[in-house]
Symmetry: none
Subunit: 407 residues, 2 copies
Amino acid sequence: MIVCDGMGDRADRAREFQTPLSVAKKPNIDALAREGSVGLIDPVAPGVRPGSDVAHLAILGYNPYEFYTGRGGLEAAGAGLRLGQGDVAFRSNFATVDAKMVVKDRRAGRRIEGRDELAKAVNEIRLSDPSVTFEFVPTVEHRAVMIMKGKGLSRKVSDTDPHIEGMPILRSMPEDEDQASKRTADILNEFTEKSYEALNEHAANIERERQRLLPANIILSRGPGTLPPLEPLAQKYSIDAACIAVAPIVRGICRVAGMELVEVQGATGGLDTDFKAKVSAAVQAMKRHDLVFLHIKAADVASHDGNFEKKTWVIERIDEAMAQVIQSVDLANDYVLMTSDHATPVTFRDHSADPVPVLVAGPDFDVSQTVKFSERTAATGNLGRLLALHLMPIMMNRLGKVGKFGF
Amino acid sequence: MIVCDGMGDRADRAREFQTPLSVAKKPNIDALAREGSVGLIDPVAPGVRPGSDVAHLAILGYNPYEFYTGRGGLEAAGAGLRLGQGDVAFRSNFATVDAKMVVKDRRAGRRIEGRDELAKAVNEIRLSDPSVTFEFVPTVEHRAVMIMKGKGLSRKVSDTDPHIEGMPILRSMPEDEDQASKRTADILNEFTEKSYEALNEHAANIERERQRLLPANIILSRGPGTLPPLEPLAQKYSIDAACIAVAPIVRGICRVAGMELVEVQGATGGLDTDFKAKVSAAVQAMKRHDLVFLHIKAADVASHDGNFEKKTWVIERIDEAMAQVIQSVDLANDYVLMTSDHATPVTFRDHSADPVPVLVAGPDFDVSQTVKFSERTAATGNLGRLLALHLMPIMMNRLGKVGKFGF
């Protein structure tokens, strides 16, 4: 199951309705489409713009309206952190504010020299409510995860990160009527103030200012989330599933779904990723697992840049790597599914609600006989138009893993 | 509305993606497909494997997630028994156990000589709770329906039938937390024990053993169900509907939906059914009814046997019988719909979640111009991909029987 992040696009009149997928030279992917069935997928529902988190929940068979519990919990799981039920995780940043709490740099210059000492100082903060503790874990560059632990917490609170520089930091506000939300917002505000007190005159920051670097003098937080109560795939469908992904959010979802995370040398989650190494690792992993989920981020990166040519280039690189699938996978026994978690049209530069093409080939999927895999051919394909949430049940039906409803 | 049970199949690479429907010579059905619209139906939802009960509820316009209340109640209705609201019906068997309650034969040899006397003895059992009564009604061979009557009963209890010979009978367990489930399981266990006491040394069984027949010395029960609260079709759509079916479960659903059951001589529910007699009866019934529902079981029987050629043969026999429809039905006035309640792929030998083809011809359905009615042509057909639950509203719309939502 290969998910090319943001690969889907949108017909553009100015380009005679061509898309990166329709112009890319991709003989291997086209062959799979011809030998298999094709159709359109709505990641959530027609007209709903999905985040990658929500889209991946749906692709793995978890209804996001039921199971989406915010970004932070999944991100924390992706970073390998342990989250208890009820803990609230935030995506946090080292940032720079002035004395009036106006944000000068949301990333404190990105490279945080002295990060470990600064993180230690944050972890030494004591909250006034002794029943609540927290854990602050730096991840990459200025990024961190902050986990609030205790009873009666809620993820329904607003961000302290204003998301724009030149604006003052925000007071977190409850986004629900209940006491837990009010309490969590108060604790987050207290934590944020105390992070400034702990960091602003910290020796590491004095050293940074001496080097004319921006001080990393506050922690801003956003995207609160809890751990979604996903029934592991092993239990839900009696399958052994593995995941190959770099993006923390995708790794997080796969981890919570109980999938084994396979590490691949050269996989970066960017345009410079080793496409062949990732596909090769997936083909290898198929020998040991019932389901291998391969996530490739690069097309989405090019899409956010609005770069049609780069996106086309990415698709051609993926196709080259797919040669291994054509050579190694036996469609009389194995299934290959390729889709996109959502469209990121290069004209829109963000996730859109457009449906995305899907192909699935295997022993008992009819041949579409389509010449090319594209948004256009998928739109009249032999799978029709489905929801991403249907993909896992459809595949598990073919694998004989679905119980009967009724008699 | 012709439902060919289990007729849908699955492309099979080993047969060059052909199915019984795609290879069968069926000029009449193909003509209806060409003259009408075609598409795919998901019986419940993509990836959901339906039982025949659940699938038929959906085809008749009742959402199975709302209205499916177990098999037993529908089966009892199919056998013509009266069930009150709250009564729980079980599918029961005469069976043979040894003194250790290990099942020797789940069917007590199938032919139950002395069945009426044995049933009388079962009906004389007195339960310790006088507020609960039961009715035990033999149907065909070793089969029976047992109806538990009283207040505070629940269908959420497990079977006493172990479903495998050589295993001890099972204690029924509550499958819900409530008191009603616990109580119903206790009563079923008491009934099962007392059935052994009543039957084991019964004169009819002593006679059976003398004849070297297995004693029918216990009643095993499974598939508890209550009557689903279906709004009759006459009320829901102001139509007069009739049903031609042999399978008790289909008859039961149609009866609960308030349809008239039309009996047809030569209809058996098996491979030896008189296809022409059934279709002829349906064509006749169209003169007196707004909707005639015709159920043909044979394709499912061949499918469960995994017999591609027999299934093809069944489809060809159905097609021969359909000649009467071509001759007698005026597509300028009447509608003909043909579909399958679910796929039963011959390679899988059980109900699968695959979508099934549907055709519908009539005065105001566009012509598909498709050459052949098959899973493949239906997949790109002009009806698109729908849920079985949509069929009745779609047809009732054409008949002008659907009220407006909004103003």
